[in-house]
Amino acid sequence: MVDKVKSVSEVVHTIPSGSHIALGGFAIARNLIAVVHELIRQQKRDLTVSQGVVGLDTDLLVGAGLVRHLIMGGGSLDRFGPAHCVNRARETKSLHCEDYTSLSVCFRYLAGALGLSFIPIKSLLASEILERLEAGPGAENVKRSKCPFTGEEYVLLRALTPDVSFVHVQIADREGNCQINGPRWENEEQAKAGRRLVVVAEEIVPTEYIQRSPERTIIPGHRVEAVIHQPFGALPTAVFGCYDYDADHLRLYVEHAKEPERFKEYLKAFVFGCRDHWEYLEKLGGLRRMEELRADPILGY
């Protein structure tokens, strides 16, 4: 048995500035908060970030000024508000954003996961999304072409193979066999497209537990480089079956994210002001608050 359990700071120390990291969160669900906080504390700069539908994790990284290039299908914090930091960075041109769609990012990951250097798609055609990609640095990742068999017009997408893919899961064993509870958006493709793969698990289980329902293993252990065990590692975003999102903190986040100055205060208080994720959880209300947010076993939230 290989024990791959590492601390988040150990793992983040191995990630050079300038890396392309793929984040497995979606809006306000299963965000890589513990990882992103540590990336900010360790000031990993000039990052390229890819994500199907961006969430709070990417917004934090962009707000902290660490992202140079963003590859995304869009996104927001759902009803809590837009991704203020991402939108502002685009408006001030401090960020280059390659805009796609949910499916085209998923297909780029799929190609990467399958070891295909390209894959066709029927989205994007006749849209300004494609025109802007063709007019910018995205041009090297898209190409109009026809099917050799049917003659139908397609957009060919270049495979996306992030330097490091991060996925937040409910359950993993120490070797990295992972089981995801609830919908999985593009996590399987995103995880397997990565040159390196790191998972954050709410709970570590014995391999024997994995062997009881191997059909639920979405990521096999041999693909995983490190397993970070961090309960409540996605707060204030939700992890189905484990805990609900922290609506109060999400509102507080959005309030601060609206203004650069206030966002600095947020980072100071909740990221730089915390030695690790446990200290951060204390600031969110500690054990008592975590118990309030803990999911009902039937409802999953």
Binding site: P82, S127, I129, W185, N187, E188, F240
Partner: protein, 265 residues
Amino acid sequence: MQVTEGTKSRNRLPDIRATEIMAAAGARELRDGEVIIVGLGLPEVATVLAKRTHAPRLAALLEVGVMNPAPRDTPVGLADSRIFYRATCWSGFLDVMGMNLHRGVVDAGFLGALELDRYGNVNTTLLKQESGKIRYVNGSAGGNDVASLAKRVIVIMRHEKRKLPLAVAYLTSPGFVGGRSREELNLRGGGPSRVITDMAVLGFDAKTHAVSLLSLHPGIRLEELVENTGFPLHIPNDIPTTPLPSAEELRLLREEIDPKGLHLK
């Protein structure tokens, strides 16, 4: 992730909200047995209403990888655990958007819009202000995929002049771009079929592909509609009135589907 804004009451009827008329109109667009990609807000309300009335066999798919959920509590977004409850399948983008939408088995998809132009092109990416300053919003998420690939698209949005301009500030999701047919645009999906606003139900002319008025909501005057539309709108000689929700539809909407009025506010 399709954007649909909360829509405050617009019509003059004392006891029926515009959002309730919109939800009922949306539900009537769905036929039994169809496969639908649902967005949050009114689209979801309309789909549930259809399922509870004339279309019990609808298959409702959510982008994130959820099929036919039966939420007990009203979700705030597509990634909200509340909308995973009692689903018959949990998968992901590749299955829902790839093996269903891209495969061509999705009959209808709902879209919200920041802007929609006379050819049904939708902008959900950015807004240009008077000053010329650009404000970014949510982008496409699954919007462009649905607009490109669903057999037909139903847009639900608020009826305002600035939201219905001659040309969108950014073409996120194609309708009949430049009045061209979908074949000319190399798009598989049939494109927009309906635009349901808080003032009217709009359709698209089979030849010109331009927006035309199908029905006015009760209490809405034609002048009012024209004033609030930024592009020339084809007006038929006699204008039908959008049917009001039935008593049973209103009961379902108010007591069962959105009792807190989260989306029907």
